[in-house]
């Protein structure tokens, strides 16, 4: 001992203490975290674990797409406020700035016993902790007549990308005075205000290009997020253009016929010149393959987002049951930071702090007319509980609404930097 300097002694003591608690570190192997899904949840989790562990954790992100088009702000692309390129992002920052191993392949299955993710290519990726952030898959048969085959005729455009481009083209190609028919999804679904912001943005587009066109919303739900705010905005900006029909009035969607472009309800058969049909949703397939789902979604512990089915697997974002939080990009980003803190704590012994979550959803009704709803949350005994909440009000000044929209632009910039920079 006398030949060891004080500095060497401190280092050795630190290593020794760590070696007993974290055997991976003792033998030189870095603990391995695999993240599946490079969206708001997965990209943020990968970035924070890599950034804050400073190389002590081996982080692999499995994401099939080389370029990620955000779902949030895809409605503003539809409305003409953003160009398509501006909502696309790549994984360069995660790989180069933070040393995340970005694997552009499809994760096909999970072997939780041997702690391995199997890729569609046949390769295997071992993990110590697995973070699943796969977003949503569709329950196509929730809307009779809808299927992957017809989604190009009646796009859902609920995962951004090509579908959003297709929907915009179809709206712009509508005949003069034609009908745009929207079928929003049943609860629970990704981005609660999203379908109604979409109605607003389509109205904004048509008001200029096709002002006698009509928008018909055949909603399977009797009420929706920020309903009073949206309806007030529709009256002020798009008077006579939008008709929202609740399920008591239309009696349910009986069939969609993509060849005839008709949507049938008990009330009537609606002829569409362009249509957006968004089916019901469920957790992305890899969560089902990992066996961490209970029905359509994945239950998690509210204090860490760890799966209730497997303590080595975390599920965050849309795929999780994170009640009272909505399924939103902001929620997923917030949950990712709780997961990153918990996973680093488990693998490196870093301090784990109590979970705190937050969310805000901004929506644009018309130019400089932005609204928002948000809440802060904490881990409760059985679910994530609301601490406080707020929502925009009808009758706010034009200045306030403009400020809310401008706030959303900077949120988009901050959010995407928080995911990808």
């Amino acid at each position: 001992m006398s030949k060891i300097s004080r500095r060497q002694f401190s280092q050795a003591v630190g290593l020794g203490a760590g070696a007993l608690a974290f055997p991976n570190i003792a033998f030189g192997a870095r603990p391995r975290v695999v993240v599946v899904g490079g969206g708001a949840g997965g990209a943020t989790a990968a970035r924070y674990i890599a950034k804050d562990s400073k190389g002590a954790v081996d982080v692999t992100l499995i994401e099939a797409s080389k370029r990620y088009y955000t779902c949030f702000y895809s409605n503003l692309y539809l409305g003409g406020y953003r160009n398509y390129a501006s909502i696309g992002h790549n994984y360069y920052g995660l790989a180069v700035n933070h040393g995340v191993n970005v694997v552009h392949e499809w994760a096909a299955s999970v072997d939780p016993t041997n702690k391995v993710v199997k890729l569609a290519s046949g390769a295997s990726v071992p993990y110590d902790r697995l973070i699943l952030s796969p977003g949503i898959d569709f329950k196509y048969d929730s809307v009779p007549g809808y299927s992957p085959e017809v989604q190009s005729k009646m796009p859902h455009a609920w995962k951004s990308g090509t579908q959003a481009q297709l929907l915009k083209r179809q709206v712009l190609n509508m005949k003069k005075g034609g009908n745009f028919v929207m079928v929003p999804p049943t609860n629970p679904y990704r981005c609660p205000p999203g379908p109604y912001e979409r109605v607003s943005m389509v109205a904004h587009l048509l008001k200029r290009s096709n002002p006698t066109a009509k928008i018909i919303v055949l909603d399977p739900k009797p009420k929706f997020s920020k309903q009073g705010l949206f309806m007030d905005g529709w009256t002020r900006h798009y008077s006579g253009m939008i008709e929202w029909i609740d399920p008591q009035a239309h009696g349910g969607i009986k069939n969609v016929d993509a060849t005839k472009m008709e949507i049938t309800t008990d009330l009537d058969t609606f002829k569409a010149d362009a249509a957006c049909v968004i089916p019901a949703q469920k957790a992305g397939g890899i969560a089902m393959a990992a066996g961490v789902n209970d029905g359509d979604w994945c239950p998690v512990n509210p204090n860490s987002m760890a799966s209730k089915a497997d303590p080595n697997i975390y599920v965050l974002g849309d795929a999780s049951v994170a009640k009272s939080m909505p399924k939103s990009g902001f929620s997923a980003n917030s949950q990712a930071k709780v997961v990153a803190n918990a996973v680093r704590g488990e693998l490196t012994g870093s301090k784990v702090f109590p979970a705190r979550y937050s969310n805000t959803c901004w929506s644009l009704i018309a130019t400089n007319d932005g609204i928002k709803v948000g809440a802060s949350y904490k881990a409760g005994d059985s679910k994530i509980d609301v601490v406080s909440k707020f929502v925009s009000k009808n009758g706010e000044s034009a200045e306030t609404r403009k400020a809310t929209y401008e706030e959303s632009i900077d949120w988009y910039n901050g959010m995407t930097a928080d995911m990808f920079a």
Binding site: S358, A375, N413
Partner: protein
């Protein structure tokens, strides 16, 4: 094997030494401030910030940040998102956050 034995011995010694040293609260506060700050980064972390919407706060003075957060908490400063965020921060958390952000280099 020889090296592994040495590391293991030192590890046991390390636990004994550590248990005798009180926790260093300063180190914990920096980590805590960093964790709390991740809630702010969602909106405030961009170089492209326009300042007409959400300002970049890296490198701002700690005094200014403390004052602003206290005003949002007491709702004397307007912005519903910030009133919600600051509403659950105690004085120590506000100080930790202000210390953390003022220590960062400005993004611009």
């Amino acid at each position: 094997m020889k090296q592994r034995f040495k590391a293991g011995s030192l590890g046991l010694l390390g636990i004994l030494v550590f248990s005798a040293i009180p926790r260093i609260s300063e180190g914990r506060d920096i980590e805590y401030g960093k964790y709390l700050s991740s809630e702010c980064s969602t909106c405030h972390g961009s170089k492209k910030s326009t300042d007409s919407g959400i300002p970049s706060i890296n490198g701002m003075s700690a005094n200014y940040l403390v004052k602003a957060l206290q005003q949002y908490r007491s709702k004397t400063r307007k912005n519903s998102v910030m009133q919600m965020i600051a509403g659950r921060l105690d004085d120590e958390q506000i100080s930790s956050l202000a210390a953390y952000f003022s220590s960062l280099r400005s993004l611009k």
